[in-house]
Symmetry: D2
Subunit: 283 residues, 4 copies
């Protein structure tokens, strides 16, 4: 897994792909995946390119420096990642533990390339699961009075653990702007509705009362506005008048698990680029 | 198709099904379909029962009178229909004609048991299609000034044509309360979004700008509140960052056709019961 | 959960529903769910009816005897169940443990009304999971030489544990006719393809090599003919040329879990009737 | 729409993308879409690249010649197309006309960039539809005795009309190897099942009798082996025990229309590459 990955966005112009692929080729890199997209409305170019470093003639700690010339020529916003340096993920949960359970199962089964140094919760219920899987658990009980202080401690913990990505796996606390800004486009939430329908509290109850014939789940990056950040993935399942509120919750759980795990995997594989309030998902 | 169909809703209590099925059995009716549902929240009983009138010992024009005793015992809201007396349907369109086209094709292919005496539009574009299919066409150009007067004429036309059901197949005019009240739960609209997301104007544009990963279509009965009546059917299709607004429109058209045609067919087969702002769809 | 459930199939004729619902009503039963279906091709009547025993005037151990008169009049095949007497389930696995894991999670989360007295495997890998969930585990290593003997021991175990339902959650051994006949329509298998496509070994590999654009999973009752018993549930997911065989396996796992858990839940709730090689699924 | 499109497949090696994009860039081309794929199993590289010819410094009739050097260096199989030169399509039908109807509607609505010079059938039923849409119609009644002769005439017609693509929109005749070889990977068939399940005659009947819970449709290129050519697209829809054979047929029609129209559109936009018996679908 000795691969380098470049994620690029910039104003579209002639020669970008030629320049990037030429850069890799002339230093003896072997392209494994390349995908690009042009947004016609904003004339923006997006690219994800992954190549093998076996035989690559630039040392990995010098690639960024050498690539900078090209990046500057095209005014690129860019990130360089290495596939063999897995991200460090913190999972936040409250009392609904199906997503946590599912993510830990998938981690164990090899679906995710990452390290999970800590599970964080405002409740103690997840502790036994964390222990079963041998992962550290830290409880931060939240009250109105202590919320800001607890968040500060959570941020300290995340920095101490060198966390790159925060997964809100049904964490039922609204994060402060300070917290969110410390992890821009690095916090993924699962919302148990087909956003933008049924944002906020009790989406299954809202859906039940509305009488919809399909329910959904949405994974998205967390931004300052509640349940409104860039959508990463959504999925839906059919319901009928026979389904009680509990049936909706049960059916929805399956969606939540799938939709959150896809978003997490794509982030870990550097397949997501944000632009405006949208995402490009490279496949 | 010499069938009778009873649609019943009433407070749940013991003996309802026994009484209804006994009524049919003792007069020598053969039940072909029976489906019931109990809404636990409101303790309401719903039933659809269809039986053959071959050999049934009550004349069809006396069935309602004789059933009334049972209906009163259980405080039923009920309707009696005969499958061989097809409903009369008016289709309203504006300039997007894919749904009209689709409904007429399905009518011709035998998917609908109904008569379509007239197609109504605020624009002339649908006229050639109406003619191709040999159906009467009536244009009612709408301006702010003439809207109320034109609606009155439309209602007169519908009454003259003895219309039982109005299908808004992308009719881009908001109907007045007067019109809607004249056809309570007898006007079906197709809205080109996954309601309650993206109600109102330009739902595909709204969806495109929001960056959703799935789009939908919703058929519903029209009520006084815009795009908020009882939902009959919904369906969804996956989209990606590669899809332009035009792609969303094109993909959505297929959904609209399917979702509207299902709603129309279920209504024509008396498979829909409204309660509160929801529907029971008997299958 | 003091409910009785009748599952009925018989030649269709007049008066069946009336007789059954009258039987419940005259003894003061309150019907909670009733669903029926008539297969036109074979003129067969199917019914599932569930009623509350609170206030029911026949003792539960005498219901069957009293119902027999009606059953005989209509030549019914029938089963009487009580919702408060949960079935006893044995889960068989081999080395792929995602379905086992998922079923145990769902059991713990309250999705299933059942008892799981034992997990059986031809390999030792599942033992730690069984222990985590506090369920007995029994390994029966299988070789060509010992297969018949081991099956005999497995059957003894199932009888000793009073097992009502066997779930093959990716159990990679073909059961003998003797075993299958001891549990007719009481063994549910998950096959990791959209049957009847890709029966037998290596369905994901078969699908990958065929280049299908959608893969599926199928839960079915086990019969003498491999992967050919009555289908209970199926679901599908989209794949593309970008998906490797491993991607198919990973995507398919989610399907398998969902499709198997639905089948198991429906069986436990007595919602499935077999006829010929098909199933009626009451909802 | 002054665009050029290159479709490339070749053994993977370093520098292919760099060479192709450099070729376009150095002659002042603006890349509009680029997508590539590497099949790990066979180590094959696939690419689709589309660029604007506005300002491109090579005359369009000389592009192929100049590109040949690069193509030879990498042992490419390649095609060069121009988006403003739409393909010429013949549609073949028998008596089921829903797909024909749908394709003609979509053509009229601007979903397809193509010319349809002729509709061919072994029956006369499609003639009125062809006339409604102002397209030539040619009937070739087929008997065992005249089949070979009629096919010869059909081929003559296709060559005379300069047909690039043949769409079998429910054409119920098996084509000869001679016919198929004259249009390798240029004949698209819609099969009304989820292939490889239910190949051959009567797939809906087969599905009904098998008791599947989901039905499908498959569009594929026609090869010598019946219903076994490279799959282009598939889709599925849920069915239940309540669905009669006619319901399956009706539900399936919607799938057929969507699945065939997607395949036709992708072919017309040069988005499909065949390799072995599979397809790469560039999006």
């Amino acid at each position: 897994m000795n691969h380098a990955i470049l994620l690029i966005s910039c104003p579209d112009s002639k020669g970008i792909t030629a320049a990037v692929t030429q850069f890799i080729f002339q230093h003896n890199g072997n392209i494994l995946h390349a995908d690009q997209h042009i947004d016609d409305q904003t004339n923006t170019f997006f690219m994800r390119i992954e190549w093998s470093l076996a035989g690559f003639k630039i040392d990995r700690d010098k690639i960024a420096r050498q690539f900078r010339t090209i990046a500057q020529r095209f005014t690129m916003t860019w990130e360089l990642h290495f596939a063999d340096k897995p991200l460090r993920v913190a999972i936040f949960v409250s009392k609904h533990l199906h997503c946590l359970y599912d993510l830990l199962y998938r981690k164990q089964a090899g679906h995710f390339t990452c390290t999970i140094p800590v599970i964080v919760s405002n409740h103690p219920e997840a502790k036994p699961i964390a222990q079963k899987f041998g992962i550290g658990f830290q409880a931060f009980p939240i009250t109105k009075a202590n919320k800001a202080a607890q968040e500060t401690k959570q941020l300290e913990l995340l920095h101490k653990k060198q966390v790159d990505l925060v997964i809100l796996a049904r964490y039922h606390q609204i994060l402060s702007a300070k917290f969110i800004n410390a992890f821009t486009h690095k916090i993924i939430n699962i919302h148990h509705s087909f956003l933008p329908a049924f944002a906020g509290r009790g989406p299954y109850k809202q859906a039940y009362e509305k009488g919809v014939k399909i329910i959904g789940a949405t994974s998205h990056y967390v931004t300052a506005e509640l349940d409104s950040g860039p959508i990463i993935e959504q999925d839906t399942v059919r319901v009928s008048h026979r389904d009680t509120l509990n049936d909706l919750i049960r059916k929805g759980e399956d969606l939540e698990k799938i939709v959150l795990s896809r978003a997490m995997r794509w982030h870990l594989e550097y397949k997501i680029l944000c632009y405006g309030n949208k995402t490009v998902i490279f496949d």
